[in-house]
C-alpha cells in the first residue's frame, strides 16, 4: 500500500496549496460586497455605504490573521457567514445547495458514463460500422458544443415556447419537500432538462476514450485467445474487452464526479437550479468571499477525495497494481 500512502502525501500537499489559492482568489477580486451591491444598481449615499462596511468589519483584519482564521475554520468546519445572506452561515447556504447539485450533476455524470461507456464498447466492437461512424464523431461534436448553447436552446424551445418543462427551481414553488411519488416526479420533471444538457455534453467524453481504448485492446492477444476459446461474443466483449478497457474511464469518471460539486454552473444558472453552481456564480457576482471560499474548499476536498478514490478503485479494479506481483 505504499502507492496509496504516497498518493495521500501528495493529496495533502495539493490540499494545502489549493487552500492557499482558495484564500487568495476571492481576495484578489476587485471590489467588496458593498460595491458589488452598488454595481447591482443600488443607490446608496456615502454615509450608508460607510455604515454597511462596518457590518462586515471582519474583512478588514490583517491578511495573515484572516488566513489563520480561515485555516482554522477548515478544520472546525466553521466557514464563516455569508455577506450576501448575512448573517447566514456559509455551511448552511452550501448545505442547501449541495444536495441538489449532487443529484443533478451526479445523475447526469453517471448517466453519461453508463451510456458513454456502453456505447463506446459497442462502437469499438463494431468499429467502422454504421453506428461507430456516426455515433463516435457525433458524440465528440456534441461535446464540442458549449453547454450554454444547449441550455439556451432547450430552455426557450421546450420551456418558454412549448411550456413542456419548468424553467426554474428544483421543484414547483410552494411544494413541500417530502418523500412522495408526486414530489419525486415533480423534482424529476424539473431536473430533466438540465440533466440532459450536462449529460449530452459529457457523453462524448466517455464514449470516445472508451471506444479508442477498446479498439486498442481488441488487438491484444488475450482477446483473440478469448475468441479462440469459443466463448460467446458477448462474453468476450464484456469480460475480456470491456473489463480491461474500462479502467482508464474509471479514472475519468472519478475526476468528473470530483467536479460534480462544482455544479454545472452554466446550466444551473440558465435553469435557475438551486445548486452549488448557482451559489458560486452569485457569490462571485456579489463578492461573497466567505461563500466563494467555502465553495472552493468543498470543491477541492471533493476533487481530491474522488481522485484518491480513483486511485484506490484503480488498484482494486486492476489486479496488476495490487500487491503480490512477482
Amino acid at each position: 500500500m505504499g502507492f496509496i500512502l504516497r498518493r495521500l502525501v501528495f493529496y495533502f500537499g495539493a490540499f494545502l496549496v489549493a487552500v492557499v489559492i482558495n484564500f487568495i482568489l476571492p481576495r484578489a477580486m476587485p471590489g467588496d460586497p458593498i460595491t458589488a451591491m452598488l454595481a447591482g444598481g443600488a443607490m446608496l449615499d456615502a454615509q450608508q455605504v460607510a455604515n454597511l462596511r462596518e457590518t462586515f468589519g471582519f474583512i478588514d483584519a490583517p491578511v495573515y490573521e484572516q488566513f489563520w482564521i480561515y485555516f482554522k475554520s477548515i478544520f472546525s468546519w466553521e466557514l464563516g457567514v455569508s455577506t450576501y445572506f448575512y448573517p447566514t452561515p456559509v455551511t448552511e447556504i452550501l448545505g442547501m445547495a449541495f444536495g441538489w447539485t449532487l443529484f443533478l450533476t451526479g445523475t447526469a455524470t453517471l448517466l453519461a458514463f453508463a451510456f458513454g461507456a456502453s456505447l463506446g464498447i459497442v462502437a469499438a466492437w463494431y468499429r467502422g460500422g454504421k453506428f461507430d461512424s456516426i455515433a463516435s464523431p457525433l458524440s465528440l461534436v456534441l461535446q464540442a458544443t458549449p453547454q450554454l448553447v444547449f441550455g439556451i436552446v432547450i430552455l426557450f424551445t421546450f420551456g418558454v415556447n412549448m411550456d413542456l418543462i419548468p424553467i426554474s427551481y428544483a421543484y414547483t414553488a410552494g411544494a413541500t419537500p417530502e418523500f412522495t411519488w408526486v414530489f419525486i416526479k415533480d423534482v424529476l420533471h424539473h431536473a430533466i432538462a438540465p440533466i440532459f444538457c450536462i449529460f449530452i455534453v459529457q457523453l462524448g467524453g466517455f464514449l470516445v476514450p472508451m471506444r479508442n481504448n477498446m479498439i486498442n485492446l481488441l488487438g491484444e492477444d488475450y482477446i483473440t485467445m478469448g475468441k479462440a476459446k469459443g466463448l460467446s461474443n458477448i462474453r468476450v466483449m464484456l469480460n475480456y474487452g470491456a473489463r480491461n478497457a474500462i479502467l482508464p474511464s474509471v479514472t475519468a469518471l472519478s475526476m468528473a464526479l470530483g467536479f460534480v460539486v462544482g455544479g454545472a454552473m452554466v446550466v444551473e444558472v440558465i435553469f435557475n437550479y438551486p445548486g452549488l453552481g448557482t451559489v458560486l456564480y452569485n457569490a462571485i457576482i456579489n463578492r461573497d468571499y466567505q461563500v466563494i471560499q467555502g465553495q472552493l474548499l468543498i470543491m477541492t476536498i471533493f476533487m481530491l477525495s474522488f481522485n484518491f478514490l480513483a486511485d484506490v478503485l484503480y488498484v482494486f479494479l486492476d489486479p496488476r497494481l495490487r500487491k503480490g506481483g512477482k
Binding site: 455604515n51 448573517p87 420551456g159
Partner: protein
C-alpha cells in the same frame, strides 16, 4: 373565502433566506420595510415631496430649525397586540442616531439626539440646520422596542418571526423558492387593506422574471424588460406598464485627468459644449433606452422630473449646447482651434497635441454601454477620438473617485427635490466618495449654494438657490446631460385593480424596497371580483 394574494418581485436573489431584521440593510428580505415596519411618514417624490402620514400624524420644525417633532397616531398596535408608543420611536431612532452598522438610513452624523416629549410625541434634535432631513429620518425603520431591546446583537439577529406595525407581518410560508407574508391582524388600516397576502417567488434574474411574467404568474414587478411591448404586453394582455421619469444621467469628462493632453481639451468649455452637442440623445433614448427614457436637454442635466425647478433663463442661454447638432459641434470645435492636423480623422488640441480618450461605463450595465456607444458614434463623427471601455464597477468607481480616468457616463440620484442630485454630483466634498462627482471640477461658490439649500425652509428661496446653481453649472457645461432614466414598473390587471399608472399617477409605482411609496400603492389595490 379565498385570500387575495398579490405576487410581487421586490428583489431578485438566488435563494430566499429568512431574515426580517430591518437593520441588516443588505441581507434582510426586501419586504421587511414598509410591509412589516410601517414608516412614520412617506414622502411622495412624484408629488414634489408631499408628505403622507403613516405612524406619525404630523411633523414640524422648531423655530430655529434645529429640532423636528413627530406626533404619533394613538390607535396603532404592534402585530402582537402591544401598543405602539413614542418609546418605540425613540428606541428605533436612537439606534440610528448611535450610528454604525445599524444606522441603515445613514443619519447619525446629522442627528444630535432623540427625545421623548410625551407618549405620542418625539423630538429629533439636529446637529445643523437641515430642512431636508425628514425624508432621510423616515428611512430609519421603526421597530418594536419590546422585541429589539432584548436582542443582544442587532447585526446577527435574523428576526424570523417579525413583530411589526405594517400590513403584512405574518409569515405564512417560507421556502428557499417562495415565501408569503399575510395580513397583520392588528393593522391599523385593515379596513383599507384589500390585499390579504403578498407572495414572493424567488427569481434570480430578469430572464426568469420575464418568463414567469409571460405565464401570468406575477402581479407587480419592477424589472427591466427589453422591448416590453413585444416581449411581454403582446404575450399577455393583462400586463401593463408605466415608466415615469427617474433620475438623470450624464456624460462627464475628468477635469483633473492625468493625461495632460486630454486635460487641455477637457478644461475647455467649448470642447465640452461640442461634446454635449455631439450626443444623439434621441437615439440614446430610443435605442439604448428602448424608448423608456426621456431626452434630457437641460444644461445642468436636471431633467423633466424637476421641471418646476428649472431656470428658464439659463436654458435659453445654454440650452442649445445640449441639443444634438453635429454641424454645430464641428463649428464649435473649429472656432476653438481644434483641427485634425495629422489626418487621422480626429481633431487635435489647438497646440497640436492629441486628444484621445475612453469613456467608461460599468461592465454588465448594457444600457449604459449602449448609451456610450451611441455617444461615441456622434463624438467620432464630429472628430473627437473617443471610445468605450467597460471596467468592472468596483474598478470604475475607484478610478473615478481618484480622478484617474478620462471620461465616464453615469446616472444620478433622484429625490423629492434636486438637492441630493446637486449635492452628490457637484459638491466638492462628495467628489472622492462616489462616481457621481467624477468631473472633479471644484467650484467653491457652487458648494456654498448647495450648502445653503437645506438651511432654509422657504420654498421660494430654495427655488432661487436652484436657479443660481443651474446658471453656474450650465455656463460651465460641467457635465453633458444625456437623458433621464425611468422607473421600471409592470403590473397585471388580471387579479388586482387600482394600480398606479400615467392616468392615476399617485406616487412612484415601483415595488423595490427603496421606494416607500409602495406602501401607498399596495393600500390602493383591490382584488378583481
Amino acid at each position: 373565502a379565498d385570500k387575495a394574494t398579490l405576487t410581487l418581485v421586490s428583489e431578485m436573489k438566488p435563494s430566499w433566506v429568512r431574515n426580517f431584521n430591518p437593520f441588516l440593510a443588505t441581507s434582510r428580505l426586501a419586504t421587511t420595510n414598509q410591509f412589516i415596519y410601517e414608516p412614520l411618514l412617506v414622502v411622495n417624490e412624484i408629488k414634489g415631496g408631499e408628505v403622507v402620514y403613516r405612524l406619525a400624524n404630523k411633523h414640524y420644525f422648531s423655530d430655529d430649525l434645529k429640532t423636528v417633532y413627530f406626533e404619533l397616531k394613538k390607535d396603532v398596535k404592534w402585530s402582537d397586540g402591544e401598543a405602539f408608543t413614542a418609546d418605540d420611536v425613540v428606541y428605533s431612532l436612537g439606534v440610528a442616531a448611535k450610528g454604525g452598522a445599524a444606522d441603515v438610513a445613514g443619519i447619525s452624523a446629522k442627528i444630535a439626539g432623540v427625545k421623548k416629549v410625551d407618549d405620542y410625541k418625539v423630538a429629533v434634535e439636529l446637529k445643523d440646520v437641515n430642512t431636508g432631513i425628514v425624508a432621510e429620518i423616515v428611512r430609519a425603520p421603526i421597530v418594536a422596542e419590546h422585541v429589539f431591546s432584548k436582542v443582544a446583537d442587532l447585526t446577527t439577529f435574523t428576526n424570523e418571526n417579525p413583530v411589526g406595525t405594517g400590513p403584512f407581518t405574518q409569515v405564512d410560508t417560507f421556502t428557499p423558492q417562495v415565501y408569503v407574508q399575510c395580513r397583520n391582524p392588528n393593522y391599523y388600516e385593515n379596513d383599507k387593506l384589500a390585499v390579504d397576502c403578498i407572495r414572493m417567488p424567488q427569481l434570480a434574474n430578469n430572464d426568469q422574471l420575464l418568463a414567469a411574467a409571460i405565464k401570468g404568474d406575477l402581479d407587480w414587478t419592477s424589472a427591466f424588460i427589453p422591448d416590453i411591448d413585444r416581449v411581454l404586453v403582446s404575450q399577455n394582455k393583462h400586463y401593463h406598464y408605466w415608466f415615469p421619469a427617474a433620475g438623470s444621467a450624464s456624460f462627464m469628462v475628468n477635469f483633473k485627468t492625468p493625461n495632460a493632453n486630454n486635460a487641455k481639451a477637457f478644461n475647455d468649455v467649448q470642447f465640452r459644449r461640442a461634446f454635449s452637442m455631439a450626443l444623439d440623445r434621441q437615439a440614446i433614448v430610443d435605442i439604448a433606452g428602448y424608448g423608456y427614457w426621456s431626452v434630457n436637454e437641460y444644461p445642468d442635466a436636471l431633467g423633466d422630473q424637476f421641471a418646476a425647478w428649472a431656470n428658464k433663463d439659463s436654458i435659453a442661454k445654454y440650452g442649445k449646447y445640449s441639443k444634438f447638432n453635429i454641424e454645430g459641434a464641428k463649428k464649435l470645435l473649429k472656432d476653438a482651434g481644434y483641427k485634425d492636423v495629422d489626418g487621422d480623422g480626429f481633431v487635435e488640441n489647438p497646440d497640436g497635441t492629441k486628444v484621445e480618450f475612453k469613456i467608461l461605463a460599468p461592465n454588465g450595465w448594457s444600457d449604459f454601454i449602449n448609451t456610450v456607444q451611441i455617444g461615441v458614434e456622434g463624438l467620432q463623427e464630429v472628430g473627437i477620438n473617443a471610445s468605450v471601455s467597460t471596467p468592472e464597477f468596483a474598478i470604475l468607481t475607484e478610478k473615478v473617485q481618484n480622478a484617474d480616468y478620462d471620461a465616464q457616463f453615469t446616472n444620478y440620484f433622484a429625490g423629492p427635490d434636486p438637492f441630493k442630485y446637486y449635492n452628490t454630483a457637484f459638491h466638492s466634498e462628495q467628489m472622492d466618495k462616489a462616481r457621481f462627482g467624477g468631473h472633479h471640477n471644484v467650484d467653491k461658490e457652487l458648494d456654498a449654494l448647495i450648502d445653503s439649500f437645506n438651511k432654509t425652509g422657504d420654498q421660494d428661496e430654495k427655488v432661487a438657490i436652484v436657479h443660481k446653481i443651474q446658471e453656474r453649472i450650465g455656463s460651465n457645461q460641467t457635465t453633458m446631460a444625456a437623458m433621464s432614466t425611468n422607473y421600471n414598473y409592470q403590473y397585471n390587471t388580471k387579479r388586482f385593480t387600482g394600480w398606479f399608472n400615467d392616468k392615476n399617477p399617485q406616487a412612484r409605482p415601483v415595488v423595490w424596497p427603496d421606494t416607500p411609496e409602495r406602501l401607498l400603492h399596495v393600500l390602493n389595490l383591490k382584488p378583481v371580483k
